[in-house]
Subunit: 156 residues, 2 copies
């Protein structure tokens, strides 16, 4: 989670929700409850979520969809707007290169938020998504759209 | 929705939530809000949901997963247990044939619940899932497990 004052971004918190092995409904409840706790603790004004890839096997895609659905539900239950960005947009916004590696994303997240240690790769991804959103989804400067497809003003 | 008294099942209500064309978060919110309304109106004790197929394209699978995730969230938000059944189990329980056609499911749902008119195919599927659950997930009589794979006591 970030705080934005003018053009200054400040780190607030970050983390991962890890679900146990149990049945799907209780795992989704864990995601929902954990994210609702975070929302009630920090009262964010806006939420950003990464648009996921679907080039994995169908079972994983379905599972990922359900988990993502639960995460979005936590946001909409608190009437929070929920913006979506592709990995390409996020990397472009944070690193300046839509095909940047995980380590580069972690490095830039550390620099932008003046962190003294590197967040985990998953937490860095989430923070990068928030940074992308804080910069209007269009990065730290101009974004090249050459070679990308645009839909409703968004890179797809 | 069904009411079960002893071995007698009574129809309570059924319906479909149709989402509009908008952005994903608002569509998931519609599912969540509608199902929460139904839950608050009828106060069910248990929820059953169909395990979905994933042999469609990845984008549809992801979308279906997110919608299903929102539906399960509505149940778990009210601390309702949420049982899952495959289409095979449901058809086996209601029609006695795991590969029954949609029309046969509609016909049997009408008979079992003494309905005077046929519910829509989607509503019939949901009622069939509830009937399957009401009968302990194991159908109206004995269920043949020959040729099916069992996992934790469930057909998969």
């Amino acid at each position: 989670m970030l705080d934005k004052k003018g053009s200054v971004l400040t780190y607030v918190s970050s983390g991962c929700v890890k679900t146990t092995e149990g049945e799907l409904p209780s795992r989704l409840k864990l995601i929902l409850d954990n994210l609702q706790e975070v929302i009630m603790q920090y009262h964010p004004d806006q939420v950003a979520i990464e648009q996921v890839f679907v080039n994995i096997n169908p079972k994983s895609t379905l599972l990922l969809g359900q988990a993502r659905g639960a995460a979005i539900c936590a946001a909409v239950l608190h009437n929070l707007e929920c913006a979506e960005y592709t990995a390409l947009q996020i990397k472009q916004a944070v690193v300046g290169n839509g095909h940047a590696k995980k380590e580069q994303v972690q490095e830039m997240v550390m620099r932008i938020l003046s962190l003294t240690s590197s967040p985990s790769a998953d937490a860095a991804d989430a923070l990068a998504c928030a940074i992308c959103h804080a910069h209007g989804g269009l990065g730290l400067g101009k974004i090249s759209t050459a070679g990308y497809r645009m839909k409703r003003g968004r890179l797809v």
